[in-house]
Amino acid sequence: MSGTLLITGGRVVDPAQGLDAHLDVLIEGGKVTRLGERLRARHAERLEAKGHIVCPGFIDVHVHLREPGQEDKETIATGTRAAAAGGFTAVCAMPNTEPVNDQAGITRAILDKAASAGVVRVYPIGAITKASQGEELAEFGDLKDAGCVAVSDDGRPVANARVMRRALEYALAFDLAVIDHCEEPALSEGASMNEGPVATWLGLRGAPAAGEAIIVERDVLLAELVGGRLHIAHVSAAASADAVRRGKQRGVRVTAEVTPHHLFLTDELVRERAYDSFTKMNPPLRGEADRRAVLEALREGVIDCIATDHAPHAADDKKVEYDQAAFGVVGLETAVPLCLDRLLRPGIVTLSQLVSIFSARPARLFDLPGGTLAPGAPGDVTVLDLESRYTVDPDRFETKGRNTPFGGLVLKGRAVATVVGGQLVFRA
């Protein structure tokens, strides 16, 4: 990408530089070269950002692009278009594709496809174990060399403590973070939602929040034991956030993410929507106390960033009885409007915090380029309009998946332009 772009008239908010000022941004050759007032650049394309917020490109560290193998649900092309439409300039792609991304060859294939068909940056995450079976470690060194930025068996927990310990130890050699989907399988067997009064009334088997917290505690202790780098995926429970908090206090290298749906929804929704399978995901929507706790943990910084766990599914996989439906909801196109409307507007976070949550912090988690607009940084920019109304209309999504619990919502605030490497990849 040899993009050259001049973004003018916007308010630049770059927490990594402690910057919040009306400045123009010049991107040349795909990298940020200058920030200043009333910049000129004769050969540059121009993007007018008057009245808008200009941020370092947003990064979503937890996305399922489904390619290779499940192209009926999503492809790298459609998934990255959805990312761009949602204001994201980069996504980390989880490895639970078919085949699982547990080898360098598959990583390279993903990157090749991303280069030719993708519209935003794709950072593959490699598997922890071969075929994510939870037994033998995958080749972390090869995976890293091929381009993986972290390892995870997401979709499943690493059930065996010994395997998780080895993974944390071995990953040290390559300075890779190990991302765990924390779930004690023996407690969540057959469950399709959170265990609690709602599951009782609906007659559905529930998975208790403790089932997640048990593995978070285990992983934090293991990371402490071996000095490893641990990242907890999609935290949904108060007790999980608490384990992360205490780990950080003790100096353990643990980080965590939370999804928008866990920040804003509870298991009551399953009852309200009378078994609508668009309310089904893993980890499930929890009770109000858990929701408030993870929201507070994000505000405090105990949870480092927001990641969507964007999980598109084909209509057939969701249009069945609740306990048979696939787990997962999409999120790339709704995350930013939701957070602007429900975190920023009510003042739960400041604008600077929000931008950091979506840019600087995710970049730091896995040492990704970007997260700032300092000269030399990639020319990735997200332009926000805090006043613009966005109606969640699943039929007009870029993603192939229509499975969102937010359909029909009218939100205030959205990304109106997305720039990757100086190229405008999305304009509202």
């Binding site: 009334w201 559905l204 009378a274 078994y275 069945v320 009885e321 306990d323």
Partner: protein, 311 residues
């Protein structure tokens, strides 16, 4: 103004107490039809009802079939072996295929909670829930209530104990909704491993069956499935019977005119001792007759008196 302004009967939870009374009163009025020499009324002539049973059930299905035929509806029963999407047709495809035959109502029993709601969302006929997963079994609760009312002359103010596997029981949930809506004093009893979280919000829970039976007007026994033992919910049927089984001695703690209800079929020697099962307190045969009357009432209230709704 309709007495029963619902298109479907998916559960007891959404019903108002007055609506429940309407069903009971209608069933009581219609019960005498079953004593006539000619047990047929032309009310639902020309209406088609499909019984779609994904779980085996001779009892409930036959009861619906009799109710349908007494009301002169055309009745068709489909029993399928399994609901798993990987084997054969999905529920939705089956329902759409049936819908193409233009039935007026589909009565569904299914292992997945929410299956009737799923059908109601995607299909046009009226849907009646004949039991979905662990969620609800509304007609069972209604026939239990009718039986209670016949035996006791009233429902409000009664003291009723519900004993057994509360966790997996749809009958327990439906009864709990119905009885509390009609002003009954309910007490629940189960081993701690079989108490679903949050159920104390509707009624107190005890782990001592003697306490539950104390002064009870009626005791509702739930079936205990054998699989629960292997699932580690309690150690043995012997221990279950000792600690939670309904024996003569425990029945005697209840009121003299206590009534024992059971949704059937019974596990003699597990949740209920043989003497009690065959004893004078059992009203299981009344439950069966009332079951047909309730189902007639439900069919009438949902299908009788409406012209083709819009679409």
């Amino acid at each position: 103004m309709s007495l029963f302004p619902h298109r479907h009967l998916l559960g007891i939870e959404p019903l108002l107490p007055a609506e429940i009374e309407t069903i009971l009163d209608t069933a009581q009025s219609m019960r005498e039809i079953l004593d006539r020499p000619i047990k047929k009324v032309p009310t639902l002539r020309g209406k088609t009802v499909i019984n779609l049973f994904y779980e085996p059930s001779t009892r409930t299905r036959s009861s619906f079939e009799v109710a349908e035929r007494v009301l002169s509806a055309d009745s068709l029963s489909i029993a399928t072996a399994t609901s798993s999407a990987s084997k054969g047709e999905t529920l939705l495809d089956t329902a759409w295929n049936l819908e193409a035959m233009k039935p007026d109502m589909i009565i569904i029993r299914h292992a997945s909670s929410g299956a009737p709601h799923f059908l109601a969302r995607h299909c046009r006929p009226a849907i009646v829930n004949a039991g979905d997963g662990a969620h609800e079994h509304p007609t069972q609760a209604l026939l239990d209530a009718l039986t209670l009312r016949q035996k006791k002359g009233r429902i409000a103010g009664l003291r009723v104990a519900i004993v057994g596997d509360l966790l997996h029981s749809r009958v327990a949930r439906s009864n709990l909704w119905l009885l509390t809506k009609l002003g009954v004093d309910v007490i629940l009893c189960a081993p701690p491993t079989l108490v679903p979280p949050g159920i104390e919000a509707l009624a107190p829970v005890t782990h001592r069956i003697d306490e539950a039976c104390e002064g009870a007007d009626a005791v509702m026994m739930l079936r205990v499935q054998r699989e629960r033992m292997t699932g580690g919910y309690f150690p043995s049927s012997r221990e279950y019977h000792l600690r939670f089984g309904l024996t003569e001695a425990r029945v005697r703690r209840a009121r003299r005119d206590v009534v024992i209800l059971h949704p059937g079929p019974m596990n003699r020697g597990v949740e209920i001792s043989t003497e009690v099962a065959d004893g004078p307190y059992s009203v299981i045969l009344d439950q069966v007759t009332n079951g047909v009357a309730i189902r007639m009432a439900v069919l009438y209230l949902l299908l009788g008196g409406h012209s083709e709704v819009g679409a």
